[in-house]
Symmetry: C2
Subunit: 244 residues, 2 copies
């Protein structure tokens, strides 16, 4: 039977707490997920390496450590700590799907998590990012609702990527675009890459110059939409049309 | 020339700070907006009653008070307080547009603000809410990006509203619906009411039993979408199709 870890000064706990910082996540190739639902998704995906729990550990095939509430609070990012926290491995995936999402300087973790959730829902199962919030940030993971385990997440130089992968039809959102989403014609043969930009500035000029097709979403009486909403609408619409 | 208010104990400041709480907003029929962009939108909409500013006040026709940084920090909800804060009147609007959005127990202020932004963009210019976060919550206002000034916001008992307004085609989102959004047929004659529910539980059973048409958004490999994303996709799609 395991003994309970009661001190936050325990070496394993100290090392695990470090995973709250991006640089340690990169160094250790690991990240934390909180709560039964996400830990279970990690387990199903085969990336769950370790768990810390208060009372019950349903994952008996995983290296598990019982901890006190005080220790759980230190491990957690939440004001009400969960009953279980998992350490997950970051697996490098490089496979590119036929529909991909590119994020250029997206800064809000809630937006990135929501976009990852929508990307999985609409078949954009590769997400590439540059200058954006870390995929494994705790708020990104929470708002992705487990979707991070269902697609390839890649950090990349988008300029290089676009230049090297010219078999995709690149669509960049641009509030000044002449063409609206509903005027865009796509067919089932197109490999599609949707590019979304920063919440305030949109897609950068550097990227826009590389892209022929710029689209906007037709709106009444509003200048712009939330980036997660805009991206999700476009992914929904492309998915809907490519099914026909 | 105005003198500068230097103390948070000043009566006007004390009264204004109270507007950060919902009960005082309801009592005074007023709310706060932060930053030049939102204050300007309020001014254009004719609801700006008073401003508090640090150095410059561009709204010379409005009752204005210069304050110190310390006072501004007390008035503000942000970690970096803005240069200007406006007090706005809550105007009761009861006009119903042909496309309306109903929110049943939506709890995240970011979701409500984002939905209000999308509602304005897609012509759903009346939003009714029950058991949801206050429309004039500072986070709702921020994420609405000024959209709150461009539509009617109404607190209502949704059950009564639906019973009394049977000229609308009510659409409720339901993960177990048989029909998907793309299978839904709508025409230009329909007055449409979209009903969205709580982030975790969806639309309540009480409301669902009143509604004939339940729809879901077709997804791959994901159980649900963020409610602001789902609502925005449906509003986009209805707007797109009713234009044809």
């Amino acid at each position: 039977m395991n003994s309970i870890i009661t001190s936050s000064q325990n070496n394993l706990i100290k090392e695990t707490i470090k995973l709250k910082q991006k640089k340690y996540r990169l160094k250790e190739n690991a990240f934390l997920v909180e709560g039964f639902h996400l830990v279970e998704e990690a387990h199903v995906s085969g990336v769950l390496k370790q768990v810390f729990y208060l009372e019950n550990n349903p994952f008996t095939d995983i290296n598990a450590f019982q901890v006190t509430e005080t220790v759980m609070k230190k491990l957690s990012d939440l004001t009400s700590p969960p009953g279980i926290i998992g350490v997950c491995l970051i697996l490098e995936k490089t496979t590119l799907t036929d529909k991909i999402l590119l994020m250029d300087n997206v800064q809000d973790p809630g937006n990135i998590g929501t976009l990852i959730r929508s990307a999985v829902a609409f078949g954009f199962k590769t997400v590439l990012a540059e200058n954006s919030v870390d995929f494994y940030n705790e708020k990104v993971i929470r708002s992705s609702q487990g979707a991070i385990f269902k697609l390839s997440l890649i950090n990349a130089n988008l300029t290089d990527f676009i230049k090297e992968n010219q078999d995709y039809l690149y669509l960049a959102t641009d509030l000044n675009a002449e063409r609206s989403l509903s005027e865009l014609s796509i067919n089932n043969k197109n490999k599609i890459a949707l590019i979304l930009g920063n919440e305030g500035q949109g897609v950068s000029e550097t990227i826009l110059t590389l892209v022929k097709t710029r689209i906007k979403i037709k709106m009444e009486d509003m200048e712009s939409l939330n980036v997660a909403v805009a991206g999700s609408i476009i992914m929904y619409d492309i998915n809907r049309r490519s099914e026909k």
